[in-house]
Subunit: 406 residues, 2 copies
């Protein structure tokens, strides 16, 4: 009897958790499981802002795939997906192709730049390990250059972050930690450096409780972050950012614009022909796109509706992980010949945004608000729980955030 | 009775050692001693290549002036010299001016670029703390960029060093240590990186014993350094270096040219009106320029002849330090009313060039050749002796190279 081929695309939160759960639940003769990923490592997207700021080394954020995936149970193919052809049940890679009986799409987000002129070309993105460590080096390089020029150039010391959503706020929090270190390293006076957060919405952290937003902004402003709220970015060039606020145009001279204000689904998902909206595909309760019962989508590319609010759930690590666990269980049912798949419902545990320096804000469980050290500690607990799920206690000890009191 | 004003320009090897010796030998009522320096720190020029390669932090190389100069005995003025007017017995600074009875000029070298097109604009120089840490960051930034571009750009990974003299060789030795670390940090295959040393002379390390030169080149080539000997640099642009060897022109695509092939004296010394050759002034046996008995020149700007070889002594830290000690003693004689000054003769102890990785070559004392670990250890001993002289045992413990077995 032929074993079914399960192909998993992407080793982000959704993809790698699907692989890890399948390797635990399936027997050796149940299926061929193949995980495809561009790099030989998984990384925690929710930690990349720390790598980009330079407050955490990227090797803490990435996990070698062989450390959590047992390659005697799951095949690992390091390659880049170029095309998904669901009607042929095939996936094309740069260096080959794979046929599947069941496909799990865990391809991650792409930055959405909303057509803002110059943004795609000149802004830096916190997308992956490569781009995060480039931001770290780009900022540091500008500090290193500063004292080497006859004319002091303020463009080198103005750091502009587009977006005061979750990632933008967490990133400026880390920058506020990092900048004093850079000032010391390169003999630059702290007061010459500006960290400017530009947000188009009428508030920072839209969707968060206003009291927590105020706490976050106060905490960050006290550490030297400037906010431009209700400010639309109009243009980015290599040496400036232009925004409009209250019908006034303003320019900030800067070499460093980090765009943290928009994500969209993966363009490979659009090209595959699934119904989709900016790379996110509406999926059934079983996380399958309309008309393709052999395809599951987990994570950033899956569009699921929050019935209560009438709006889609935002793509988060928390939901991606739950979808992966759910999909692994459903795949086991399919392979065991059980036609009945369980419907997926997100079980939201809460959200915590770190502000750097052992500070954070969050809402956990039933609208309990947290801030300060307790929120920061909770954030670490959440991160460590994920590592525990993925690779057990050894992985928590190796990569976990155990510095509760530092 | 009026106390004479002694003004010392520059806190390099020569200037700071003059100040330290005077603060020990002069009584509080003997003289007003004022040290002028651009930064509030002294640095060891002979360690800058390690800071530039990124193998040693620049805070190890620099020493706060207040840590070795007792400011209750010696005035310290942090300012930049703009002009020396020996006929007025005055020194002009960016933010003021000083009159002197005795002047000690310890202003350091400048890079000599021999009119090679593009060199001054596009090459990096190992001149000071600012420029050294910029080289470190420039190289690292290019590694960080490499994996972020769709087209892999070899210009980012070719590092070209102009000059296989003392500094050039020591720098490529450190680079050979550093590059594997950068490859690991940025996921770049080591074999993609080139370290290329271009030297116009017919040999590396001209003036060194040929057996030691061969040892050095073998050691460096084994660690991945390429040599282009007898190759004249013709042009440097932001993205390439052009050289000519055996009447053939060759181009190396590179963003990183580090120029370590030429130094000259300080242009302020030329402008002061002393007789000089490319910023180096011939001085008497008492280290005074012709016609100015109240001016002493120590270090890179003093031109003294080696009677044996008939050529000038090269400007080295060793000679600068000896000149400083000698000048401090002569100044004490002058102030005590003893008209007889002692003539200066260099007492050469030898030369050791480090090759990185606990390797080095050198000649010490009476033409005894050293290489390998023993030469490397000797180099550290020499460095530590200087620190002992400058700031005693506490400074050796704080900044010394104590890692003989690492």
């Amino acid at each position: 009897m032929k074993k079914p081929n399960i192909v998993i695309l992407g080793a982000g939160y959704g993809g790698i958790m699907t692989a890890v759960k399948l390797q635990k639940s399936l027997g050796a003769n149940d299926a061929n499981v193949t995980l495809v990923n561009k790099h030989n490592y998984h990384y925690q997207t929710t930690w990349l802002h720390e790598n980009a700021a330079g407050t955490l080394h990227h090797d803490r954020t990435r996990i070698q795939i062989k450390d959590v995936v047992n390659t005697s149970k799951v095949n690992f193919v390091q390659d880049t997906v170029t095309e998904i052809k669901p009607d042929e049940k095939k996936v094309y890679l740069e260096n080959g192709d794979l046929s599947y009986d069941y496909l799990v799409i865990g391809l991650g987000f792409e930055a959405a730049t909303f057509g803002i002129p110059g943004l795609e070309e000149h802004a830096y993105m916190i997308n992956n390990i490569n781009s995060a460590r480039l931001i770290r080096q780009h900022i540091e390089y500008n500090f290193a250059k500063y004292n080497n020029e006859a004319e002091r150039n303020q463009e080198r010391l103005n750091i502009v972050v587009g977006g005061a959503g979750f990632t933008g706020i967490e990133f400026v929090g880390e920058l506020a930690n990092r900048v004093p270190e850079l000032c010391k390293e390169y003999d630059v006076p702290r007061e010459n450096v500006r960290i400017i957060n530009v947000e188009a919405a009428p508030t920072a952290l839209p969707g968060f409780d206003p009291a927590l937003v105020e706490y976050a902004m106060n905490s960050l402003e006290a550490r030297g972050v400037e906010f431009k709220i209700g400010a639309m970015i109009k243009e980015v060039t290599p040496h400036k950012l232009v925004f409009e606020k209250d019908e006034q145009r303003e320019e900030i001279p800067t070499n460093t614009v980090v765009w943290a204000a928009g994500v969209r689904g993966n363009s490979l998902v659009e090209k595959a022909g699934f119904e989709s909206n900016r790379g996110r595909t509406p999926v059934s309760d079983e996380l399958r796109p309309n008309g393709y019962d052999d395809v599951f989508i987990v994570g950033d590319c899956a569009l699921i509706m929050n019935e209560e609010s009438g709006r889609p759930y935002p793509p988060t690590a928390q939901i991606a992980i739950q979808q992966a666990e759910h999909t692994a269980a459903n795949l086991k049912r399919l392979i065991n010949g059980d036609g009945h798949l369980e419907p997926f419902t997100p079980d939201l545990k809460g959200t915590v945004a770190s502000l750097g320096h052992d500070d954070a804000i969050g809402v956990v469980f039933d609208d309990k608000k947290l801030f300060g050290w307790s929120a920061s500690a909770m954030k670490k607990v959440i991160d460590n729980r994920y590592l525990l799920k993925l690779g057990g206690l050894p992985l928590v000890l190796k990569k976990g955030k155990l510095n509760f009191f530092h």
